[in-house]
């Protein structure tokens, strides 16, 4: 079977790719504006915009590679990939390169590599494989086994420390569990137990994390300290009003009031310049994007494919929810980027690879299976 079959082309989820490219285009355009800041009368650009275009190209190339290999091989690679990831995560804790207090990087012959990115794939594939084995709702044993498998890499990522990625991995797995469904008694028990246990988690948080949650409740208490991000972000978004200030006209971003405007707070730059109308357009694009992933999950030719697509769905869903919630000031500040909008090399490549996995599932849904 040749890797590129006419069938593949017909059944591939083209709208998903188009939507991903559209959102990425919006993101690049927005980064162009976010890189600009005023120096006197001039507008000066930083290199983020160019680099993001480069990352996008790399991402598309990586996506192509992901598409070429039938996703069913991923299932057999799930366990080896998982153990390699765990090993690398342990290695990074011992021999990782430390950047501003966090050990996240491994260097292989001059190439920087973040094992935490690999962990996302490992958990996605292994989670999909394990959950797709059966159809009945999860009981205690299976649930604890899955959670345990997810916890190991997530824990190793959190101690790097990289709370954002760790959270991402856990939430992805959590989504997959919900997708499969939890059996009645277990669900009821959890429904009671979690709200009781959650406040206990408060005491496990580090002081700065508690601070972030408290700040969310009352950002004006420390307007130049921890409340600064939230206040300035809300001002930027709100001042966009209905129609926005116009492309390259955002004063909050260009006069540098907006923190992290290329990365976590890129949406605020967008909201300031494009207003409510622009934001709704972007939100609609994201929703359509998620619905396309949903469509692939629904029409996949097997359970593994469906779970893979659902995992990708949750990966993006949580990021959109948390990032938008944070930028809009209804969730604590956690370092989670907005897919395709925030600047970031590895995030862009990972995002395209995940889109690739969904495309992979979608294009092989009609392929005859040898019995």
């Amino acid at each position: 079977m040749s890797p590129i079959d006419r069938r593949f082309v017909v059944s591939a989820n083209w709208p998903l790719l188009v939507l991903a490219l559209a959102i990425f285009a919006v993101g690049v355009l927005n980064l162009y504006s976010a890189s600009g800041f005023r120096m006197g009368e001039e507008l000066s650009l930083q290199a983020f915009f160019n680099r993001q275009v480069l990352w996008g190209s790399c991402g598309l190339f990586a996506m192509l590679l992901v598409v070429l290999v039938d996703y069913k091989h991923l299932a057999s690679a799930a366990w080896p990939l998982f153990f390699v990831t765990i090993l690398l995560l342990l290695l990074v804790l011992v021999a990782g390169k430390s950047v501003s207090g966090a050990r996240r990087w491994l260097i292989f012959g001059g190439v920087n590599f973040q094992p935490s990115e690999l962990a996302k794939f490992a958990v996605l594939i292994l989670g999909a494989k394990l959950l797709a084995r059966r159809t009945e709702k999860l009981g205690w044993i299976e649930l604890l086994a899955i959670v345990g498998i997810g916890m190991a890499p997530a824990f190793l990522v959190v101690v790097e420390p990289d709370l954002g990625t760790g959270l991402n991995i856990l939430l992805l797995l959590f989504g997959l569990i919900l997708y499969r469904g939890i059996s009645g008694p277990v669900f009821k028990t959890l429904l009671v137990a979690v709200p009781i246990l959650l406040p206990c988690g408060w005491f496990l948080l580090k002081p700065y994390q508690k601070q972030r949650i408290l700040t969310l409740l009352d950002p004006e208490k420390d307007p130049l300290g921890s409340g600064y991000h939230i206040i300035q972000s809300r001002i930027a978004i709100g001042s966009g009003q209905m129609w926005g200030k116009g492309f390259l006209e955002g004063t909050q971003s260009q006069l540098r009031y907006l923190p992290e405007k290329h990365t976590d707070f890129a949406l605020a730059v967008f909201a300031e310049e494009w207003g409510f109308v622009g934001c709704i357009v972007l939100l609609v694009l994201f929703c359509l994007f998620l619905l396309q992933i949903y469509a692939t999950a629904r029409t996949a030719k097997d359970r593994f494919g469906s779970y893979l697509a659902a995992g990708v769905f949750f990966y993006f869903f949580w990021q959109i929810l948390i990032n938008m919630g944070m930028v809009l000031g209804i969730m604590p500040v956690v370092g989670i980027p907005l897919p395709f909008i925030s600047y970031g090399g590895s995030a862009t490549i990972v995002n395209y690879c995940l889109v690739g996995i969904v495309l992979n599932v979608s294009m092989r849904r009609f392929v005859f299976k040898k019995s």
């Binding site: 499969r180 709100g238 006069l255 609609v284 998620l290 869903f317 849904r365």
Partner: protein, 609 residues
């Protein structure tokens, strides 16, 4: 082979979950965007504008002060200060340490300034850390401040007094506003200079002007991009003084090395042509904050250089007071020109003898002779007839015991005692002897040189008590009319002329001008009797008498009042005489006639009071 596309592999509930989640996501954020951007959009737009637009104050130039001839005596020069905009500063401690390194300032002191300023200065306004930067420090800062966000070089005005000590008591000085002044005046910001002394204090509002306001677009690092002036600053008003710098200089030179005061007054307008208090201090020292050691030195100096002796120095007037007691006697009908007294050199009251300065007495004296020769016994008797309360009321009406209202701060009122006053002050009854002492300007009576000059001015100008003025534009202010008939007033002036022609102030005599004077010797230590009086030179400095000479001069329609006081100068005519003479020589030109004529006068004067 099996075609699987129609088979549902996805869990049903899971698929519903995904749909619900997308729906929820859409609804949640649509609402939130609506709330922030449409519902509250205008509020946030205003906040964005506030963020970006800052209102910054523009300093106004303080008014200049010139002397009568237009020579500058107080000017403002640009100086550079280093400010810190807190909002833009990333690491205050490191920045302050750097500033200390550049300027050589003490890091702890900088921290102190910073902490003090934090309460006053808005976070986006420069908090002034160091004033008057040297050019070396300025260069070092300019080269490096881009690496230290928040630091800002501020051009400010620095006050300079070209004449220094010569005008210090008149001008006073400006210095950095303290907490209290900042509290009182909201227009002041930390680091601003305000008048602390002298005219700089009393004319503060006139000199200061009003700050302007500009709106600047500022980025989050505090860099300013566009600016627009909203309110133009209004420069302070200038002042031209009535003081003639040359005359002031002459007077200061004449008092050099002594402690004392010279007042030169135009009696018809109340304008002060010279107002000298010696010793003086350099007011430039105070502008940038006087160092502690210098300040202690000035404060503890036994000669009190900070005190303005013309308005704050209080002295017993001595015989000069007889001009007032005589006026009171004439006005209230307690004496006439013709009434005579035989002076035997002493006057017995109870068991105490009051002496005349002239041992052996003056013999028969009428009022004119009593004034010209300054007979104490005549005035003992006159004062006793009038009683202290009457003298007190009259003296108050003539401007003694009340401030002159001159435009200088912390003026002292002086003291004219009364029976009530003594009762309140000491809880004791007034005694007859005290009336006698007061009648010759001793005892409790205290006056300032400026009060004497004002009184003399009123005698000369027809009886108007004028506010002594320092500012040229000021219209003369009549504060009161002497309760004295013109005839009596002229009589008093005549006796003063006689005093110059044949009494205790002969040194002042010059043929081309009409000059009148009255000397006074104010005892510092109460002496039991005249026998104990010794030559000034034989006594320790602080026990020596104060020397007064109050005079007026008239030539070619120009009239002046010159009052000189020399602390511990000994007899009035001896020390104060040459000073007053030199002043008239300047005012009227050198006296014609042989200089030798003046010589015998000195010997005659030696005994005179």
């Amino acid at each position: 082979m099996r075609f699987e596309s129609e088979t549902q592999h996805a869990p049903r509930s899971g698929l519903i979950l995904l749909q619900v989640m997308v729906f929820a996501l859409f609804c949640l954020f649509t609402l939130r965007f609506w709330y922030l951007q449409v519902h509250k959009g205008e509020q946030f737009a205003q906040k964005a504008l506030d963020n970006q637009m800052r209102q910054v104050l523009i300093d106004s130039a303080r008014g200049r002060v010139r002397d009568l001839g237009g020579r500058p005596v107080a000017v403002s020069e640009p100086s550079f200060a280093l400010g810190l905009v807190r909002e833009d500063c990333e690491d205050v401690e490191a920045t302050l340490a750097k500033v200390a390194e550049w300027t050589g300032a003490d890091p702890a002191a900088l921290m102190e300034i910073y902490k003090r300023g934090k309460k006053r200065v808005k976070p986006f306004e420069p908090l002034i850390l160091v004033t008057d930067l040297s050019y070396e420090a300025l260069a070092r800062i300019e080269a490096n401040d881009i690496f230290w966000p928040g630091l800002e070089i501020v051009v400010r005005q620095k006050r300079h007094y070209p004449e220094g000590p010569l005008m210090a008591h008149i001008l006073g000085y400006v210095a950095e506003a303290n907490e209290e002044e900042l509290e009182k005046n909201p227009a002041l910001s930390l680091g601003d200079s305000v008048g602390k002394q002298g005219l700089e204090l009393t004319r503060e509002d006139w000199l200061r002007g009003a700050k302007g306001k500009k709106q600047v677009e500022v980025d989050a690092l505090g860099r300013q991009h566009n600016e627009q002036v909203l309110v133009e600053p209004r420069a302070g008003n200038n002042i031209t003084l009535t003081i003639d710098l040359d005359l002031q200089h002459l007077c200061a030179g004449l008092l050099e090395g002594q402690a004392g005061a010279v007042v030169v007054l135009d009696p018809d307008t109340g304008r002060l042509l010279a107002l000298v208090s010696q010793p003086a201090y350099d007011n430039n020292l105070f502008v940038l904050g006087v160092p502690q050691d210098k300040w202690s030195e000035l404060r503890d100096n036994p000669m009190h250089p900070i005190q303005n002796r013309t308005t704050q120095g209080l002295y017993p007037p001595g015989s000069v007071f007889k001009l007032l007691v005589a006026a009171a006697g004439l006005s209230e009908g307690f004496c006439t020109y013709a009434d005579g007294v035989v002076c035997t050199g002493e006057y017995q009251v109870g068991n105490r003898k009051f002496h005349c300065w002239k041992k052996g007495g003056h013999g028969y004296v009428d009022l004119r002779r009593a004034l010209v020769h300054s007979c104490d016994v005549y005035f003992y008797k006159l004062g006793e007839r009038m009683g202290m309360d009457r003298i007190n009321a009259y003296a108050k009406a003539c401007g003694f015991g009340v401030p002159t209202g001159v435009d200088l701060p912390h003026e002292k009122a002086g003291l004219i005692p009364s029976r009530d006053w003594k009762k309140k002050r000491f809880g004791e009854a007034w005694t007859r002897g005290e009336t006698l002492n007061a009648s010759i300007g001793q005892g409790y009576v205290l006056v300032s040189p400026l009060q004497v000059a004002r009184y003399l001015g009123a005698l000369v100008n027809g009886g108007k008590l004028l506010k002594p003025s320092l500012v040229l534009d000021e219209e003369p202010t009549v504060q009161g009319i002497l309760p004295l008939a013109d005839e009596h007033r002229r009589f008093l002036l005549e006796t003063m002329v006689d005093t110059v022609e044949g009494g205790t102030a002969r040194r002042l005599l010059r043929p081309d001008a009409r000059i009148g004077g009255k000397t006074g010797t104010a005892q510092v230590v109460k002496l039991i009797n005249a026998d104990q009086r010794r030559k000034a030179a034989d006594m320790p400095y602080k026990y020596r008498d104060h020397a007064w000479l109050a005079s007026f001069g008239e030539k070619d329609g120009k009239r002046y009042v010159v009052v000189v006081l020399v602390e511990h100068g000994g007899h009035g005519g001896e020390v104060a005489g040459p000073i007053v003479k030199a002043v008239y020589d300047r005012l009227f030109g050198p006296a014609p006639g042989k200089p030798a004529q003046a010589e015998p006068a000195i010997q005659q004067l030696e005994a005179g009071d």
